[in-house]
């Protein structure tokens, strides 16, 4: 996502240290790392394991369990399209698959220019405005193919 900086172990250590006073700090730390660096790389795992006093295997298990913690940098923008039932009731499945086909992308992949990652999401709580989507942190209701194309174009030219 836009604003992410390259991985920096020193900065990561500061972020980890700032959260160690919390009860069960793992998720808050992972969120903070992901926010800062746009992803949580493999090199973070031993560093986190040491700080939290758990094994690397356990830490790896935590990082990889949650869909939202990314192992690699994402596109500059992330477009999440809802695939859940309410959006499907308004034709979201076909809309999304057609859109992905136009971009020649699969779910979870990024355009070759690194501008846009397209992800499936299972409900944004915008079920009275299906189909719904979210571009970075901006929620979008009643989207259609044309709107998705417009968003993709804006994201890729920005």
């Amino acid at each position: 996502m836009s604003g992410a900086v390259p991985w920096d172990a020193g900065r990561a250590q500061e972020i980890i240290a700032a959260h160690l006073g919390l009860e069960g700090p793992a998720l808050p730390i992972l969120h903070a790392l992901q926010h800062e660096f746009g992803h949580v790389p493999e090199v973070a795992v031993p560093q986190l394991a040491e700080a939290l006093n758990i094994s690397r295997a356990e830490m790896h298990g935590v990082v990889t369990f949650y869909h939202d913690f990314k192992r690699e940098p994402q596109g500059r923008h992330v477009l999440k399209i809802c695939r859940a039932e309410s959006c499907q009731s308004m034709g979201a499945e076909k809309m999304a698959l057609d859109f992905l086909a136009r971009l020649k992308l699969d779910w979870g992949k990024t355009t070759p220019d690194g501008a846009l990652t397209v992800e499936a999401v299972y409900c944004l709580g915008l079920c009275a405005h299906s189909p719904s989507a979210m571009l970075d942190d901006e929620p979008l209701g009643r989207v259609d193919g044309a709107k998705l194309d417009e968003l993709a174009q804006e994201a890729r030219s920005a």
């Binding site: 039932e85 009731s89 299972y122 409900c123 009275a128 405005h129 009643r142």
Partner: protein, 477 residues
């Protein structure tokens, strides 16, 4: 000075509320008019969002589906004094959709500034906690039990029993955890409370903390709700600043504070034991029960895990008494249920009513039928783990036990409407696919079974040994 309300609710934002706010500010400045814009929660008439409300001597007048482009014309029409415009819906609280409801949990949602402690208390807020303080913990739990309140997260477990179990546990550390991992499609009531009346959740948690003897609460909120996270965090700051959270809550000798924690896109964390694992910083894997979280919960301590709505209803129950809440509803389903009407439906939104409405009333009468204008085929009630009810079951009353009788469950009260173009076998396949993606992997029937479910439904869809495969699928479920 004119007071105006434009929601900061995520659904309103998704329909362009931010641009409307900017356009109103710009137009008001250009015309030299003094307008105060309150960013309220949603009234729940979601199909009208963004719903702009203007305060007039007669009451709040609404303008529905306002776009930024409409704004100059609205000023021309004199909307600051409630003037007529094509988007007018008249007095908001007299709109039939709103007037038909009995709002208890959502009594303030959409009416007040969600992060204003002063507005919250001016509208009945903190009467519940003050009463709890005056009657003591045991009598507080007795009020919750007398209300008949059952968990609004899906399972419908009596809230009073849960609180009493935790209060009766030995030891001096207990936790209050709110499950705001509202992951099922067709649900948005938790989100609306956290965005529209977050202080009711904070007060409810504080009442619970006082009742069970806990000084620490956590709200576990799903990451898909960034706006709710922001507004709830602002409400926590407002509550602390007013002395309603922290040491010596509202001048008492009771201390309590709340921390907001974000999930990370794991559906299974909506299940209470995996939620607790996740809060502890582990993989969100379900725990075997017993022990119940009430006995051995967060960090091994006795823990109340309640849904947002159950907790946000506690202030009203304490303020007005358990009997007042019990008076709503039917049989063993007491009180009100905030229905969430969604999917292919004309009037999608939140409708709070006592238990007992039929699906026909909810979908066709209140919801206005399918948005596509085609006949309704089915309604999914209770999310992916609930059921699809066909039109032939539309006379079923909305009630925990009545739904159990038709082999279904009301769950959280979320309803997703489908018209007759829906491919039901595809939706069944999707349910299995979703479970396969979101399985935490601990138990074989779910980890392997949902994959086999997808394969079996694919065979049925392809016409392969249909009868035998349907039997196999039934056995699998």
């Amino acid at each position: 000075m004119t007071k105006m309300y434009i929601p900061r609710d995520m659904a309103a934002l998704a329909m362009g509320a931010k641009k409307v706010v900017a356009a109103v500010q710009k137009e008001a400045a250009a015309r030299g008019l003094d307008v105060e814009i309150v960013r309220n929660g949603s009234r729940g008439m979601l199909w009208l969002e963004p719903l702009v409300e203007v305060e007039t001597p007669a009451g709040r007048v609404g303008y529905g589906n306002v776009t930024a482009a409409d704004v100059p014309a609205l000023f021309d029409a004199g909307f600051l004094s409630g003037g007529e415009h094509k988007s007018s819906i008249g007095l908001v609280e007299q709109h039939p959709y709103f007037a038909r409801q009995q709002r208890v949990t959502f009594q303030r949602c959409g009416r007040i500034d969600p992060v204003s402690y002063a507005e919250y208390t001016a509208n009945g807020g903190y009467k519940g906690l003050d009463r709890a303080f005056s009657i003591g913990p045991a009598a507080t739990i007795a009020e919750i039990a007398a209300s008949g309140l059952r968990g609004r997260g899906g399972a419908g477990f009596p809230t009073g029993v849960k609180w009493k179990t935790v209060a009766d546990c030995p030891g001096d550390k207990r936790y209050v955890v709110v499950n705001a991992d509202e992951g099922d499609s067709g649900t948005f009531a938790d989100r609306m409370i956290m965005e529209g009346d977050p202080l009711s959740l904070i007060e409810g948690m504080t009442i619970c903390g006082f009742a069970v003897g806990s000084d620490k609460g956590y709200v576990y909120l799903r990451a898909e709700y960034p706006i709710a996270a922001q507004i709830f965090a602002e409400a926590l700051v407002a509550a602390r600043a007013a002395g309603a959270l922290g040491k010596q809550v509202r001048g008492s000798d009771f201390s309590f504070d709340i921390e907001l924690r974000m999930g990370a896109g794991a559906y299974v964390c909506g299940e209470e034991t995996s939620l607790l694992e996740s809060l502890e910083g582990k993989r969100g894997i379900v725990r075997a029960k017993p022990p119940l979280p009430a006995h051995v919960g967060l960090f091994g301590k006795p823990t109340v895990v309640n849904n947002v709505l159950s907790m946000a209803t506690a202030p009203m129950i304490l303020a007005d008494g358990g009997a007042a809440y019990y008076a709503y509803g039917m049989d063993r389903s007491r009180g009100t249920i905030p229905l969430q009407i969604a999917g292919n439906v004309k009037h999608g939104g939140l409708f709070e009513a006592p238990f007992g409405l039929t699906l026909n009333e909810i979908v066709n009468d209140i919801g206005g039928g399918a948005r596509s204008g085609r006949p309704v085929r089915a309604v999914q009630v209770g999310g992916p783990l609930g059921a699809y009810l066909p039109v032939s079951l539309f006379e079923t009353r909305f009630d925990y036990e009545a739904y159990t009788k038709v082999n279904s469950l009301i769950g959280h009260g979320g309803l997703v409407v489908f018209d007759d173009t829906v491919d039901m076998s595809w939706m069944a396949r999707f349910a299995m696919e979703f479970c396969a993606i979101e399985s935490c992997g601990k138990c074989t029937p779910c980890r392997i079974g949902s994959i086999r479910g997808v394969e079996t439904i694919d065979k049925i869809r392809a016409g392969e040994n249909v009868a035998a495969n349907i039997d196999l699928l039934k056995d699998l479920c």
